[in-house]
């Protein structure tokens, strides 16, 4: 069995630097100057899942993104990690897309280079974190999907999948073609070898614009987005903090007073504990 697998990825501003994000006070837009772009962390788990399947069953892994032209760098990184081909969908017409318009463009890209037996995504991106693209992409492609996948195995044409829910999971059997949005806990992404980087330079990286795709223009970008963005603002977290100082014993004594005045019955707890022994 040879599998044709696609993985959707997204370059995002490095989540470790989100405290540097500001809002331009005049234009009321989000400023992310100086923040490096990385591959959305969980997308590497999605690529790893695809590579492991290819190693077991044979086939091909294609990574795809809808992003500005400089996303080629991220795609090359994933080719170096082991993906076989890469597709970049880039066009001004895609700009301003919400999750519905984004998933529409991705579905057109996947249809252009597909069909695929299996499509992987991460559960969410670090920037918007809507987690909506996987389900919506599956809906455009009219394939089965599951989100928040913590474990899966392939048996014949059937995937046995565990979808994580609060305090547990639901298990499913899913017929391919299918889309699985995987959690970070599903695997540990491999490191890229020097050989991988060398090989990546020769692997195919295709760039498509809207004109290359079979799309209805009015479903793309801002125009194709049913949600519209209003005001943006920064929540105020600032509290009037009081600092406790002194030797450890003094600090703990003050802390106990603070906890007591917040209504905690510390002595009772200690007494109960002693009494219980």
């Amino acid at each position: 069995m040879s599998l044709n697998i696609a993985v959707c990825i997204k370059p995002v501003p490095d989540p470790d630097c989100y405290d540097k994000i500001t809002i331009d006070p005049v234009r009321k837009t989000i400023t992310r100057a100086g923040i490096p772009t990385i591959i959305n962390p969980v997308d590497k788990n999605a690529v790893e899942a695809a590579l492991q399947l290819r190693e077991k069953h044979g086939g091909k892994v294609t990574v795809i993104t809808m992003a500005p032209p400089n996303a080629e760098e991220s795609l090359r990184e994933l080719l170096a990690m082991g993906a076989d081909e890469a597709v970049l969908l880039t066009d001004r017409a895609f700009a301003g897309a919400d999750t519905l318009a984004t998933s529409y463009a991705l579905s057109a890209g996947l249809q252009k280079v597909g069909p695929f037996d299996l499509i992987f995504t991460g559960t969410e991106t670090a920037d918007g974190a809507t987690s909506q693209v996987p389900a919506q992409l599956a809906e455009w492609l009219d394939v089965a999907h599951l989100w928040n996948v913590q474990e899966f195995e392939l048996e014949g044409n059937t995937l046995n999948v565990k979808m994580g829910i609060e305090n547990g999971y639901i298990s499913y059997s899913v017929q391919m073609p299918a889309l699985l949005a995987v959690k970070r806990s599903i695997n540990k992404p491999r490191y890229t070898s020097v050989m991988g980087v060398m090989k990546a330079k020769k692997k195919p990286l295709m760039v498509f614009t809207a004109a290359d795709l079979d799309v209805e223009q009015e479903r793309l970008g801002l125009q194709g987005s049913p949600t519209k963005a209003g005001a943006v603002f920064t929540p105020s977290l600032a509290r009037k903090g009081q600092q406790l100082t002194g030797e450890t014993e003094e600090i703990v004594e003050q802390l106990v007073q603070v906890l007591r005045s917040a209504g905690l019955h510390l002595e009772t707890i200690a007494d109960d504990k002693a009494g219980g022994k």
Partner: protein, 334 residues
């Protein structure tokens, strides 16, 4: 109840094993609030899909004026194709203006799929919703780990949809005179459309040990700076002594000092609002702060005086977390 049943503010009430998820009550309470903001009030409707559900009176207690029950063996476990087929049919018939869904694992799978099916907009994991002067729903959505909040509207398509994280709306308020009409809906037609591509097999739930984060009045949270599994035991011991729950940040999950990522607090974890929040060796990354900023009293201990957590703290202790933890535990034990 009028004859004209179109319009309405709907809450898709999640049930697991016949029990309604408490986020549904939070959403209903919010729906009643939205109702007062609409120019012409529309009914608040809870929709429950499942095999059966035991807590229907709770739905009316927190604000449902009508409860649409869709009970069928095929809906016992969440199965996205079947659930979306049923909701698509119901929404086409009744045309609600607003559909609210809890941003649980199931809700985060269901809502975007339903939105794509209906070609309408879904505002994801909102922290609040309101009605503006144009009678439209405005959803407040966090981005970049909660560093930025943005208003999201859905002006041209219907229904206007939003998912809301459990816990962000605060405790639901019971209504004064609960009264709900129950409408049993026969979904056999919608269920026949199922193509069998996704089959739900079984649900496995782990027993929760200790106090759940959402219900805890005291939360003791540790961050990566705790340093080791051995030190982590101190965080757990303090939580036990205070009768509280244990919380953690993403790196702690990655280090596997905790059993389950259900203890993670932040944008991709839980949103909590305990009376007292103690943070030990938590740096205060934006996505963590977003999950705990509504706590009552925030006390934090960090050896880095510049740690962002201090900005969000009422009581600051610049010092070694392990030392303070050990001393506090010994002090409480007497």
């Amino acid at each position: 109840m009028t004859e004209n049943k179109t319009g309405g503010i709907w809450v898709v009430a999640e049930q697991i094993a016949g029990r309604i998820n408490s986020v549904s009550y939070e959403l209903l309470s919010k729906a009643r609030h939205l109702q007062t903001q609409l120019k012409t009030p529309e009914p608040v409707v809870a929709v429950v899909l499942g095999k059966e559900a035991a807590d229907l009176d709770q739905l009316s207690r927190f604000g449902a004026e009508e409860i649409i029950t869709v009970f069928d063996g095929a809906l016992e476990l969440y199965q996205n194709d079947a659930y979306v087929n049923v909701l698509e049919e119901l929404i086409a018939q009744r045309k609600p203006s607003i559909v609210l869904i809890g941003a649980t694992a199931i809700g985060q799978d269901l809502a975007p799929m339903l939105g794509a099916r209906l070609k309408t907009g879904v505002a994801a994991h909102c922290v609040d919703v309101r009605i503006n002067e144009d009678n439209q729903m405005v959803a407040v959505v966090p981005a970049f780990g909660g560093k930025v909040l943005g208003d999201i509207l859905c002006p041209n398509t219907s229904p206007q949809m939003a998912t809301l994280k459990p816990g962000v709306l605060g405790k639901p308020v019971p209504v004064e005179h609960p009264s709900a009409v129950i409408t049993a809906y026969d979904a056999s037609c919608a269920l026949q459309k199922d193509r069998g591509r996704v089959k739900a097999l079984e649900i496995v739930r782990q027993e929760q040990s200790g106090v759940p984060l959402e219900e805890a009045e005291v939360i003791v949270t540790g961050g990566w700076g705790i340093g080791s599994q051995e030190n982590w035991a101190l965080v757990e011991e303090l939580a036990r002594l205070l009768g509280g729950a244990v919380g953690c940040t993403r790196p702690v999950v990655d280090e596997q000092w905790v059993q389950s990522e259900q203890q993670m607090i932040g944008t991709s974890g839980k949103s909590v609002r305990p009376k007292v929040y103690l943070a030990f060796a938590v740096s205060g990354a934006t996505h963590h702060l977003c999950g705990m900023k509504d706590s009552g009293l925030v006390i934090s201990v960090n050896k880095d005086a510049e740690a962002p957590i201090f900005e969000a703290s009422d009581v600051r202790i610049v010092g070694d977390a392990k030392t303070v933890l050990t001393a506090l535990i010994n002090r409480i034990k007497g």
